[in-house]
Symmetry: C2
Subunit: 250 residues, 2 copies
DNA sequence: TCAAAAGTGTTTCCCTTACACCCATGA
DNA sequence: TCATGGGTGTAAGGGAAACACTTTTGA
């Protein structure tokens, strides 16, 4: 579908990209009982933002989102879903972009395409923290995980986008099968419960949780786990589902 | 928020509008136990489509959607919600738009802004059929209600958009309070049940339905209804909720 | 042998389902 | 008085909540 011709975002005209449309990705990971979000920092600005990108003239929007997440994490098989379009006029803030572009070289002309108003399509992605390799682009100082509770201030309305992504994740956790995307291939029931508790922000009852998860019929018990703890070793489970990757589950 | 300056879609350059972004609205109504969708027909083309529009340079995207629905129905207080962005490259079909524009006057130049690739933000609206006044624009032959089961062929991927809107409506009917927006201010429990049955495409048990709806605590019994039928007259109910209008319910 | 975590069994409770019964009304 | 649709009562069934008990392991 997508011809590869590699236009460059830094062109003043934005040749090769759809104008006025951006993609912002809230990439969630889970580690040490903490829900994390991948953020980038623009060089020499102290400005933090969600990983984002633009849509090539001949590229599907969903493919562009996949490409953005792949560029930042190196992962291919990711759960990714649109959740909202952020399109208020009030989010238009060219001053911030002028700083970002200027930090990368010369000050941009006033009619630089990135200084125009943009609408952003919000995606959220659930990735395996242990396999993701945060990868900055040339214009970033960093690309790293941040705990949801201790994120730096973000540009534009990106904090709002994270909030809305988290709300969507919470709402979907109940009636879609998505939590597993945040865990490694094999995990214990305790890991899974910690994940659910962290996302939902509340404690769950262990017996009820175990039964509910097993009743879904999508978990396969693999083997015994050895632990360093002074207690019974838990089973390992893996998620059995062929339809991994870009999800069209409704 | 929105300065009024009235740009015109027919300008070749699309001056005053965001480029590459359109809005398509699936406006649902309910009448005679049928779920209906509002469709427009372009003049002298035989082409049917969803009501749609574009976003003014200084207009919120959600405001633009409200404006589109208001233009076609005359209604102000409408339930309206984004549900998906349709952004595949394959939906790009300039030939159809060339026909539409040509039918309105002279053939457009090849660089007419409407012949470029567009991404469409899908909204669905739930309106009171009895209060909506379908209103065509100058370039339409008609603007009318169609039964979901007997719609004409639609341009582009508009049939897909309707399908996805219906699926979203079905999924939300269970866990959001939205069905009432399709009924007049006062209605019987039978009306409401018929509506649910039509949307979900299956029969529901009357006693269970009545109890579930009343348990929501959002219905107020108003008065006795007189009927022409040879049976007990049903109560009338009305929906008690202050937060009518553009919904931010999550 | 003990503490801690994991796995499973059991009872209770509540909501939904299914069905029954009564009510009101016009033909 | 009878058929039809509306409203409510009630018993049965299924799943979640709450709690108890057993199992396994390293200290």
């Amino acid at each position: 579908m997508t011809k590869i011709n590699s236009p460059r975002e830094t062109d003043e005209k934005g040749e090769g990209f759809l104008k006025s449309i951006a993609i912002d990705a809230v990439i969630f990971g889970f580690h040490n009982n903490q829900l994390k979000v991948l953020l980038i920092e623009y060089k020499r600005t102290g400005l933090f933002a969600l990983p984002g990108g633009f849509i090539k003239d001949d590229e599907d929007v969903n493919s562009a989102a996949t490409r953005v997440v792949n560029d930042r994490t190196g992962l291919d098989d990711i759960f990714l879903e649109q959740f909202y379009v952020f399109g208020d006029y009030s989010r238009y803030n060219p001053a911030q972009f002028k700083i970002i572009i200027s930090a990368g070289g010369a000050a941009p002309p006033d009619d630089h395409w990135l200084l125009k108003r943009f609408i952003s399509i919000g995606y959220y992605a659930l990735v395996d923290f242990t396999r993701a390799k945060p990868t900055p682009a040339a214009i970033f100082d960093s690309c790293d995980w941040y705990d949801l509770g201790s994120m730096p201030t973000l540009i534009q309305d990106h904090s709002l986008i994270v909030d809305k992504a988290l709300n969507t994740l919470r709402a979907n956790l109940d009636h879609k099968v998505i939590g597993f995307n945040l865990l490694p291939g094999e995990f214990t029931m305790g890991d899974l419960q910690k994940l659910y508790e962290t996302i939902l922000g509340k404690k769950l009852l262990r017996p009820a949780f175990q039964r509910k998860m097993l009743a879904l019929g999508i978990l396969e018990r693999v083997a015994k786990k050895w632990t360093g703890g002074a207690h019974k070793a838990p089973y390992l489970y893996k998620f059995i589902n062929e339809t991994i990757g870009f999800s069209s589950k409704q």
